[in-house]
């Protein structure tokens, strides 16, 4: 067996993950000896671990793709992008969650769990073996169950319960799928599967592929295993909702992408069509269901379901066009930034659950509205935000992959999505100003803090919202720079 030595040599290939793990373990240990109101130390440590991991991942990004640990772990562009996005996302979300967590007796544990979940997400993206995929699934699920119900209030535990039961169910189905594929080929490595699957029995393949894809679809929040998304998002706190709808999704979509690009590339079944159908249904259902939402969290939850639909467009054509990798990379990064931004807007006004509440709460904070507009229009895919570039790339890739109909469906859906995003933006933008206060606001006089203004939680969430908006624009405008860097291999 050369496994030990082979893996040992390239252990540094996992440096970003090791750093995250170190951060998790170190954070937990540090937390054990940290007084309750000084747990920001742990936050700093965790953030530092994330940033270190990002640096390590960025350094490794331009290097050629390789497979380590007996080809069970793939380090390539997709992995690299996911590593960076997830680690950065965790770092940002730790801070987004900090106002609601600060001083909580379990603050340390929350940060550590967030880190572990991120690690799981990366494992999903990087896995080159079905069993590692299952392990990654576990790691990307278990901490999240705890995070979803972290507040342990009535809604939170219901969210956790649903999330857990749904996750356990799909996890079991996923194992059934893996078992079917093992029955078909006797192996679980992607490379072997890619070689053996084309000759396997289609029926067995269908069960196996569907089971495995159901697993990643669950993590991504795609139809038909998306049911947890709205309920969990609405049941938990906004920062956690942001985490649950962003971090695992990134890894899961990347995992699906790898599955379609490698083991399922040449199977005698139309897997791209399957994914395309999932994508079409996800985006349509998500958009339609979001349309009537007045609760901002649920609205965003359904919006994430529809976003997964667009992301899956790139997945569907993973094996068919070279454009798919950059498309996925751009869209993932853009989605993460924009989605976090949108949730940060909700987190900025924790008391406001509905659109109108929200509008009244931020009515006077022009920049919050502007940033929200940037984020939401970003989710629509309005240029020049990052998601626009992503959408463009995804559309192009899908068309190039002979799924022009999906492009049309996606375009129509994009229009539909405008409805609900505008429903949120428009009152905030135009409806709130009452004539007298506007005068005063327009003038040079000192700004008076009205009752509504005070309900806004300024500080970290607002800052992150602005940051996300700016980042979304920068990512879109600077797409060339960072893509050139990411794809330089």
């Amino acid at each position: 067996m050369t496994g030990m030595s082979g893996g040992g040599e390239r252990v540094l290939a996992l440096l970003p993950e090791l750093l995250l793990l170190l951060g998790a373990v170190g954070g937990l240990l540090l937390g054990l000896w940290t007084p309750q109101h000084r747990q920001w130390r742990v936050r700093l440590l965790v953030t530092a671990a994330c940033l270190a991991s990002v640096i390590a991942a960025a350094v490794a990004l331009p290097e050629p793709a390789e497979r380590v640990f007996e080809a069970t772990w793939v380090v390539d562009t997709t992995t690299g992008v996911v590593r960076i996005v997830v680690a950065l996302g965790v770092a940002v979300l730790v801070w987004l969650a900090s106002p609601s967590l600060a001083g909580h007796p379990r603050e340390t544990e929350a940060y550590v769990l967030m880190l572990l979940g991120g690690l799981g997400s990366i494992a999903l993206a990087a896995s080159g073996d079905l069993l590692l995929l299952v392990a990654g699934y576990l790691l990307a699920s278990v901490p999240l169950y705890a995070l979803a119900g972290f507040a342990k209030d009535s809604a939170g535990v219901e969210a956790t319960m649903k999330y857990y039961l749904m996750g356990a169910f799909v996890g079991v189905l996923m194992l059934v799928g893996v078992a079917a594929l093992v029955l078909a080929t006797g192996t679980t490595g992607y490379l072997d599967l890619a070689a053996l699957l084309p000759d396997a029995s289609p029926a067995l393949l269908a069960v196996g592929i569907l089971g495995v894809l159901a697993g990643v679809a669950f993590k991504a929040g795609a139809v038909p295993v998306h049911f947890w998304v709205p309920d969990v998002t609405a049941g938990t706190t906004p920062p956690m909702a942001a985490y649950l709808t962003t971090i695992p999704k990134i890894g899961a979509v990347a995992a699906a992408f790898r599955l379609l690009a490698e083991p399922f590339a040449d199977v005698p079944l139309d897997v791209p069509l399957l994914v395309a159908v999932i994508a079409a249904v996800s985006m349509t259902l998500g958009n339609l269901a979001a349309f009537n939402q007045t609760e901002v969290l649920r609205l965003l939850a359904y919006s994430t379901v529809s976003q997964v639909g667009y992301l899956f467009m790139a997945v569907a054509v993973a094996a068919r066009t070279d454009l798919a990798v950059p498309a996925l990379a751009i869209y993932l990064a853009g989605y993460a930034v924009t989605n976090i931004g949108a949730f940060a807007a909700v987190a900025a006004t924790p008391a406001a659950r509905t659109i109108t509440d929200w509008a009244t709460a931020v009515g006077r904070h022009r920049w919050i509205v502007v940033s929200l507009v940037v984020c939401l229009l970003g989710l629509v895919g309005t240029p020049p935000t990052a998601v626009f570039v992503g959408k463009l790339a995804v559309f192009t890739a899908a068309w190039d992959g002979a799924l022009a109909w999906l492009v049309v469906v996606a375009a129509v859906n994009t229009v539909a999505s405008l409805f609900y995003y505008l429903r949120w933006v428009a009152p905030a933008f135009a409806g709130v100003p009452a004539a007298p206060s506007m005068r005063e606001w327009a003038g040079s006089g000192p700004r008076t803090a009205a009752g509504t203004a005070q309900r806004t939680r300024r500080g970290v969430p607002t800052g992150l919202l602005h940051g996300a908006a700016v980042m979304s624009l920068l990512l879109g405008l600077g797409a060339g720079w960072w893509l050139a860097f990411a794809l330089s291999t």
Binding site: L323, P326, I330, R366, W367, V370, L377, T382, P383, P384, F388, V389, L392, A393, F395, T396, W399, D400, V407, V408, A411, V412, T414, V415, L418, F419, L422, A426, F429, A430, P433, A435, M438, W441, A442, G443, S444, L477, A479, G480, L483, A484, L487
Partner: protein, 532 residues
């Protein structure tokens, strides 16, 4: 670099305005005026230094002020901007009209900072669209203009502004997505896989696949037709105009509509010459229907602004007629097709000036009496002679009277198009008759007879705006006061905004070489490219 400055200077000013909420509103508008003026001055400087060149005509070669940066290398999309005879006039028009709107808004609108910032943002979007030489960049700016205009209408409109804004947004957004799909088709169909317009025009994609080319053209055509707007995709226009603030309407009609027609000349024709030739007759027919439809429906309007809005449909129809004729290679010689193309492009500039002026003038009506309904106004020539004179001049310009820019445009469209599409052109000529009738009728209704102004004691009218259903006039007669004390003549800022537009329209009507020297080489290039 100069071009980049021209494009982004307004955006910079917008950011400054938003970042400094404490400066007084008046100063904010002042900043807006200053930024627009500087921008216009820069465009003027560009114009002065612009050399159309002998052999190099633009479109595929000889682009001035070019800047090319990689943006999304994987799909070969970049920040590629440049100026040629097609874009320079429209850039100038953008500068002029935005400055006029800034001057017009000196009265300090509601929430002046945001208002000014939005307009400056819009200016960047429009400038950028006209300067873009990359499909994606074009789309980016194109879409941003929709976003900006949505907020202008939703935030500062009157009447049913939200609804109209939403309708506008959805309609044009659908169009823009069709456009995007078409662009992706162009990208995938091109040999070198690029979004660069110059490269695409030099080596047109999908040349040997008529079906794919036709479908891609269809997508692009739909997108641009909604924006232009052409029959039957025009129904967003009257609503958006009726409820938009005056300056918003002026920009919407004056500049944003041109984004659509400009797209035809810049993208559809040079890049898909074969498909354009094949389907040119459709463009001609759509153009002619728009001409007549716009004219006749405008004739029936009872609301000034709606009427002007529909004349835009009519005027844009001429553009399509000219451009369609330019594609009928088989039935017309190159000279005639070039004349038609020049006419179409001239119409874009001309319509921008004249309709911009008309909308600003109709804004005067709103500011005085919160109504656009014909039957609530009358005899205004006596209390407001300057206003009447300006409106009349603008109306005559708009109906295509020689001596105004509109004549130069329409004359060339008709003469150029007749050979290619005789029947269609003869039918379309009727359009100028109907527009003549409707404008004269409007003048008659607004300015002659006994002075009538809307009653002040009509609070719900003030709150809700006229709306088509309220314009039936049955209630209006009962409360009609017979005094015209409230109609104040054009204020100096209003005159300062409108008069230059009209003067420009006259200059362009009498000394068209100013513009034609720039336009003609580019039009020849376009016609040549279409004829491939």
């Amino acid at each position: 670099m100069l071009l980049t400055v021209v494009i982004f200077l307004p955006l910079l000013a917008a950011a400054v305005l938003l970042a400094a909420p404490r400066i007084p509103g008046r100063v904010a508008i002042g900043v807006w005026v200053a930024a627009s003026a500087v921008d216009l001055a820069l465009v003027g400087w560009m114009w002065l230094r612009f050399e159309p060149g002998q052999g190099a005509s633009g479109v595929v070669d000889g682009l001035a002020y070019e800047a090319h940066l990689q943006w999304i290398p994987t799909v070969n999309a970049g920040y590629h901007v440049g100026v040629d005879g097609l874009s320079l006039p429209l850039l100038a028009l953008t500068g002029v009209l935005f400055l006029a709107c800034a001057v017009y808004s000196l009265r300090e609108p509601d929430r002046p900072h945001t208002y000014a910032a939005l307009f400056l943002f819009l200016q960047t979007a429009c400038m950028g669209t006209f300067a873009s030489l990359d499909l994606i960049l074009f789309f980016v700016f194109f879409d941003l203009s929709i976003v900006g205009m949505y907020f202008v209408i939703a935030g500062w409109g009157h009447g049913n502004a939200r609804r109209s804004a939403l309708k506008f947004f959805l309609y044009t957004f659908i169009g823009s997505l069709a456009l995007l799909v078409g662009f992706i088709g162009l990208f995938l169909g091109s040999e070198e896989r690029t979004f660069d317009m110059v490269a695409l025009a030099a080596n047109p994609p999908l040349a040997d696949s008529p079906v794919a080319g036709g479908l891609v053209l269809l997508a692009i055509f739909l997108g641009l037709a909604v924006k232009t707007p052409l029959f039957p995709f025009h129904t967003w226009l009257p609503d958006a105009h009726t409820d938009a603030p005056a300056a918003g309407s002026a920009i919407l009609a004056g500049i944003l509509l041109k984004l659509g027609t400009y797209g035809f000349v810049r993208i559809a024709m040079p890049i898909l010459p074969e498909a354009w030739q094949r389907w040119a007759m459709v463009a001609v027919v759509v153009g002619v229907i728009s001409v007549l439809w716009g004219a006749f429906v405008a004739l029936a309007q009872t609301d000034v602004k709606r009427m002007i809005a529909y004349t835009s449909v009519n005027h844009m129809g001429y553009v399509l007629l000219g451009l369609g004729a330019a594609g009928l290679v088989a039935s017309a010689d190159e000279g005639a097709r070039t004349v038609a193309t020049v006419g179409a492009m001239y119409q874009m500039v001309s319509h921008g000036l004249l309709t911009g002026a008309l909308f600003l003038l109709s804004g005067v009506l709103w500011s005085r009496g919160h109504s656009y309904a014909f039957d609530r106004w009358g005899g205004l020539a006596r209390p407001a002679p300057v206003f009447a004179a300006c409106f009349a001049v603008a109306a005559f310009g708009s109906l295509g009277l020689p001596g105004f820019s509109g004549f130069i445009a329409e004359f060339q469209v008709f003469t150029g198009a007749l050979q290619a599409a005789p029947l269609a052109t003869v039918v379309a000529v009727v359009g100028i008759l109907v527009t003549a009738g409707l404008f004269l009728l409007a003048l008659q209704r607004l300015f002659t007879g006994d002075p009538v102004v809307p009653s002040e004691a009509d609070p719900d009218e003030l709150a809700e705006g006229p709306g088509p259903e309220r314009a039936d006039g049955t209630t209006a007669t009962a409360v009609r006061p017979r005094t015209a004390t409230r109609m104040q003549d054009l204020r100096s800022r209003e005159a300062a905004a409108v008069v230059p537009l009209l003067v420009l329209a006259v200059i362009l009507g009498l000394v068209p070489r100013v513009l034609l020297d720039v336009l003609e080489p580019a039009a020849m290039a376009v016609v040549e490219l279409v004829g491939r």
